[in-house]
Each structure stands twice: as structure tokens, then as C-alpha cells.
Symmetry: none
Subunit: 118 residues, 4 copies
């Protein structure tokens, strides 16, 4: 879970994506507590405000819920929700641009996928 400080991708989005990946990969199970803002902040040397911003996005997407006085917890069904929502988002918003780029470069999708699925 490393942050790329040179990247054009904002820190809070990088962090959000990391957390999403942890949930999808089952490292963070449903019902589990997220690491605290303070903990993430000190471990990753990220400003607490930035960490909060990332977690707040998960709350807004109803993937995580706050238990008062206890912390943030992964909600039931979060993994399934992610499986469909992230999928749709990728297919409609990101993939079209990528596909056009692949086309322009004269590359074949089959060959590309072969590399990662073989």
C-alpha cells in the first residue's frame, strides 16, 4: 500500500483505490474495522485531512459506515457492490478511451489480454 507522490493522481484518490482494492481482495472483510485515520496518516505520512477525504468517499458510496466512538467499518455487501459498481464505472467511463487508444496504436486486444491471462 504505497503512495506515489509524483503521480498526477491525487493522493486521496490513490488512497481510496487502495482501500477499495483491500476490500475486493478480501483483506478487509465485511464487518472489519478500517485502520484509523490517525494510523493511516502516520504510517503513510499523509495529512489526516487527506486520509479523511478518502474514507469519506467510501462512506458516500455506502461501502463503509461510521460506528460512533468505534471507527469505520466495512458494510455488509460491500464486496458485491464493488464488484458491480466498479465494473460498470470502468466499462462506461474508462474503457472507451482505452479502447480507442489501443486501436490507434494498432494493437490487438486479444494479444494484450493473452499476456495477463495465460
Amino acid at each position: 500500500m504505497e503512495i506515489n507522490w509524483n503521480n498526477k493522481e491525487p493522493i486521496y484518490l490513490q488512497l481510496r483505490d487502495r482501500l477499495v482494492a483491500l476490500i475486493m481482495d478480501g483483506v478487509l472483510q465485511e464487518g472489519d474495522a478500517l485502520p484509523s485515520v490517525r494510523q493511516i496518516s502516520s504510517e503513510q505520512r499523509i495529512n489526516p485531512v487527506t486520509v479523511s477525504k478518502a474514507i469519506q468517499m467510501l462512506v458516500d458510496d455506502q461501502l463503509v459506515e461510521k460506528k460512533r466512538g468505534l471507527g469505520m467499518y466495512v458494510v455488509d455487501g460491500a464486496k458485491n457492490k464493488l464488484a458491480t459498481e466498479e465494473r460498470n464505472k470502468f466499462l462506461t467511463e474508462e474503457w472507451p478511451q482505452i479502447a480507442e487508444r489501443i486501436d490507434r496504436l494498432g494493437l490487438e486486444l486479444d494479444d494484450l489480454l493473452g499476456k495477463s491471462t495465460d
Copy 2:
């Protein structure tokens, strides 16, 4: 050659990509002069400084060269250079991340081909 003003992508990058596409598609042949900064500026309603920034990137990539007092010209071999370099850049820098993403989302070839699988 149209600019998307609502896009968060900076104008000078959009413009650079347009020019690269024109070279790759052969609309701008090697040895041809690029449209002048002022011409692009007035046609597209973009500030000349912004246009210059886009073209300067092409100069830095040695796709275009300045002839003092005359204008900017597509260098010999620009098309080939683009064909190989852009491709390599995509395969080594961008595709690995995308592939990991596709993998995690559990997407298949059919999903990506533009026809939903029902």
C-alpha cells in the same frame, strides 16, 4: 480538431494529442509546416501561450523542429518514431495497470468488445 472545454484534461495536452494524431494519420506529412501558433490560436479560440506549450512538447519529443522566423515543421521520421515510441510507452507504463484492474474486476474479453453479454 476540436477542444473539449468541459474536460478536466488541460487544453495544451488535448491539443498536443490532436497534433500527434494528425501526424500519425498522415494529415501532417513529414516536412510539412504546422499551422502557426496564431492560426491555431484564433481558429480554436485558445490563448497563443497555451498553443505554444502544446507545440513545445512536440519539439521536446523531437517530433517537430523550429525554423527560425518561418514556423514549426514535422521532422523526418516523426511518424515512425510515434508508431514505436507511443506503443512501447503504452505497453510498459499504462497497460500493466489496466490489466491488473481488468483482472481484479473479473472482466472477460466479451465484456470489453463493446457488446454486452446479457
Copy 3:
């Protein structure tokens, strides 16, 4: 760190050279933050855009890196990089022309040492 406003050399290049000198002389250590764009801008009475242009050159040369929202930092190894690269560049690109010039003008070592030979 002073700018010569009468010089035909562009301000952003003068500024870049100043910053390079500060790194080579160790005034700016590796890991240190550069003075912020706004700070340089107000102290030296230079437009922020012009200052950015100078610093961006250092980023392109990988002497400096951006930490988003925090500022620009001298990268590890910047000093060594400068010591070798600037030297090579001078020896291969600039010195040959100068040497030819000296030769044609019939100048001797004594002439160049700053004490006229009478």
C-alpha cells in the same frame, strides 16, 4: 540570487541556473524543499508563471520532484547528477566550438588566464 534584468538571457533561464548553482553548492541539500513559487515570485519580483517555468525545467531534468500540495523537493542524487551531466554536456557540446574559436583567434594560455601578457 539576483536577476539581471538588462541581460538578454531569459529570466527563467537565469533563475534556473541560479537554482542549479544552489544545489551544486549545497545550499539546497538533497531532500530540501525549494523556496515556493510564490516566495521566489514576490522576493525577486518575478511573475509566478516565469518562476514555475524555471522550476519545471529542473523537474524535467529529474533534479527536483513535486510533492503534491506541499512543494518542490531536491531529489536524492541531484548533486552527483549535476556534477557529471553538466560536465559532459559542456565537454561534448560547448567546448569543441570554443576551442575552435580560440584556435582560430590564435590565443594562448597566457591570454586566457586573466593577466594580460603585455
Copy 4:
């Protein structure tokens, strides 16, 4: 006698320096006619106005004179004049900057000159 179109050095200065070199090297003897503006212009593919500008500089320096209806001729004493004037100009205007640069790079003048005089 080649022109570098990418160079930051203006064409008319490059051309002027070429002509000066031809005189100093004796290719153009005193009393010889310079190639005509038209000839240089077509051979080097330089705009005639630019060629005139270069030659006019030589006239201003009294290295060349116009013979009405005949063309431009190298004046008597041009070679000597160049030997001293170019020399002084170099020593007072250009060399100090170069010397400082050599110093900053930690290079030794002796070593550098050894390369070109051995």
C-alpha cells in the same frame, strides 16, 4: 558553410561568422569579391534580406566595402583587423563567462587546451 536552423543563434549571425571565418582563413583574400547576395541566398536557401543583414554587419565593421555596380569586396587590412578586434571582443565579452563556467564545473583549463593543441 552550413546553416543550423535549429540553433538559437540567429541565421544572420551564423552567416556573418562564416564569412568572417572565410576571411581569417584566407579563403577570401583581401581585394576578393564576396559571393553575391543572390548567390548565397539561393545556395544556402536563406532569405536575401537575411543575407544582406549579415553582409551589412561586415560593412559596418569596415571589413568589406561596396563597389557600386560591382559588388562587395574585402578591404585591405581586413584580416589583421579581424585578428585583433575579434580577439579583444572574445576576451572581454565571452571568455569571462566561459571561464567562470569551467571553474564551476571543476575543470582545469590546462587539460582542456591540451586536447586541442596536442
